[in-house]
Symmetry: C2
Subunit: 402 residues, 2 copies
């Protein structure tokens, strides 16, 4: 008997009609003879509504009370989903995070799951019911409610699937799978039937926000087979799993990220420790640096450029400008740029992928500002207004190889 | 150091402005040096909104899931109130029913409190914070959420006050105390400063819905001093407690109940067992009978009349009409009647109260249809359109005696 964990996001359960649709997906699986555990987020805008209510009365509420407040959101959607399933004739029981055994650390607002005591869930499954669990939440050792932070429902589902030894964890969302590029921009983009954990991680970190990164990392760690699929269309989605060498795609996707800023510091002293000082100051501001480029030293000076998320640009500039040896240098900040990335597990064992990427951009007369590579990814920084052209050109160039 | 439990109903916490008002009441008490525990209901219409959401998807949801849904209501208001208090500079922590140690039986939707483990609440009070507890809810031995039924927040507050050995339990509501009659109808009505538990119980059961009856019974049982007062006006309210003989009022209140129906069965056989058969059949329909009147037998027959809540009239009629010896008798049902009652603990030791009530009605030319008395109460059934006149007349008659 298969054990399937199905996760439904806030849009999928936003009203009575959507709840009925989700219930019918769950019941279809249940009637195949599977044991089914559904993990749900709060309905539609509930989370934002609750945040707004809190802000009205306190501009800086404690995180403990915010978690106490926010966890009511999934409680409502889980109870409603269980009732919907009951109303359609199947036994169902809803469990809050703590009832389902989610134990977390004490980091209110961004807690980590420490352990899942699956006994209650298993008991309910044994009794033959469909189990609906609130995502995004647990309790800590003080018996306080905690939340896993935004996107945490994916993590809840994967962690529960791992703890239960589920056969598959299905993530239902408003897209029907993972594409080789954004289908709204690249008409030739194709849905992938299978993708590896590593490729999915690179794609997620590149802004293709289909799956929360933490949940993919956890799925990889515990070898949980994921499937991303649409709650509105009954079509197979994209399976994320460990793939064998022959299955590895040369290029699994081309993405762009337009929320990027590039900061360049011109003419810093070419001595040991310069880079350390700069990036240490930036890290102290909790800013994550992405691509780093350092020119070859000349006349005792060098240039250092790097990219950060556009929202972090001011904090990074501030950090850099406080450094004694740097403040007097010329510092440039550009935000009209984009990062275009090509991801493919097959890159590890194939040559010449980078040169094909550069050729595609050259053909389109797109200038490359910075380059960054990893085992399964090549990223280039280019002018933002050419980002869509770049994605299309690279996608076209690789299509025949798939 | 005084320990005060303060209960705030849904209207008192319905929006940000009201939450701030309630927070300032709590903080005033806290700054006097008291330990304060606030028990809150769900905000304004939250409970009804959640019921409506449930009905949209399932006309007959399970009680377990309804409780799982409904308990989110107080969770939201408790967290918001704690944040409001924090925002006004005082330490506060919200606790859900189960976190505050409320253990109930398994009767979902109308659970009874079995035990309160006060350790967490006491620990939070020791740490110097204001404790906000969700009313109306607890958990049962399966670790499921339960609700105490409507009006249950009063019971939560009284039970917690009893368990903590609180000095007083204040019930904040939208009226500022208990009056000798409805002040909108009887201009001379006065606010009582003190009333006994028994009088409060009679008034509550007579439709003066200031306090839930179960909570008054519990307060009496554990000798918890209650105070009913307004959350909008900072005025002393009415204290409910065990009163000494000399404090006992001759008449503490005059009330009316217009949701009454009278059913009369004419000419039933005057043999033993007739009354039993009738009222047994009615009890089987779970209908509570209030006043019963039986005529003196004549010609081997008698008439039996009784009153029930107007909403139960159809069920009672149905029960009576199925009885073999009764179905063929003349059965009358009147709904244009009202019950007017006079309550006063002093009645026990004073004569002539009943005759004064009847005199007041005679003076106003109001016909008495039925009469019922208890140790501290006299009720009369009269025509509904004279109910307000009757309340005023009786109130006027007794005023000088107070």
């Amino acid at each position: 008997m298969a054990l399937i964990v199905q996760k439904f996001g806030g849009t999928s359960v936003k009203n009575a009609e959507r709840l009925k649709n989700v219930a019918s997906i769950i019941i279809d699986e249940y009637k195949k003879g599977s044991k089914v555990v559904a993990v749900v987020s709060a309905q539609g805008d509930t989370t934002d509504d609750l945040i707004e209510k809190a802000r009205e009365i306190n501009s800086d509420p404690s995180k403990r009370e915010m978690d106490q407040l926010m966890t009511a959101g999934e409680q409502i959607s889980a109870a409603l989903l269980a009732m919907t399933i009951e109303g359609m004739g199947c036994p169902a029981v809803s469990l809050l995070g703590w009832q389902a055994g989610f134990e977390t650390n004490t980091a209110y607002g961004s807690a980590r799951i420490k352990r899942i005591d699956t006994r209650r869930v298993e008991r309910e499954l044994e009794r033959g019911g469909i189990v609906v669990v609130t995502g995004f939440q647990g309790k800590n050792r003080y018996d306080d409610m905690t939340t896993l932070g935004r996107g945490g429902s994916d993590t809840s589902a994967v962690a529960l699937a791992a703890a239960l030894g589920a056969d598959r964890c299905q993530i239902y969302t408003d897209v029907d799978g993972v594409y080789t590029a954004d289908p709204r921009k690249v008409p030739q983009a194709k849905k992938l039937s299978v993708i590896s954990y590593d490729e999915m991680l690179e794609l997620a970190s590149l802004g293709a926000q289909v799956l929360n990164n933490r949940s993919v990392e956890m799925a990889k760690k515990y070898n949980v087979e994921l499937e991303v699929l649409s709650s509105l269309e009954r079509l197979p989605g994209t399976v994320v799993k460990e793939v064998s060498e022959v299955e590895k795609l040369l290029v699994s996707g081309v993405t762009k990220d337009c929320s990027v800023a590039k900061i360049a510091i011109i003419g810093v002293k070419d001595t040991p420790g310069t880079a350390f000082k700069i990036f240490n100051a930036i890290a102290a501001k909790k800013v994550v640096v992405d691509v780093i480029l350092q020119s070859i030293g000349r006349d005792g000076t060098k240039d250092i450029a790097f990219t950060v998320a556009a929202s972090d640009a001011d904090a990074a500039l501030e950090a850099v400008k406080t450094l004694p040896d740097i403040a007097d240098k010329k510092i440039e900040c550009e935000t009209d740029i984009a990062k275009v990335s090509v991801v493919g597990a097959g890159m590890e064992s194939h040559q010449g992928i980078a040169s094909k990427v550069f050729e595609a951009l050259y053909d389109e007369n797109i200038n490359i500002r910075m380059i960054s590579t990893s085992e399964i990814k090549i990223s280039v920084i280019i002018d933002r207004d050419r980002a869509d052209d770049a994605v299309r050109a690279i996608h076209d160039k690789f299509e025949p190889y798939e």
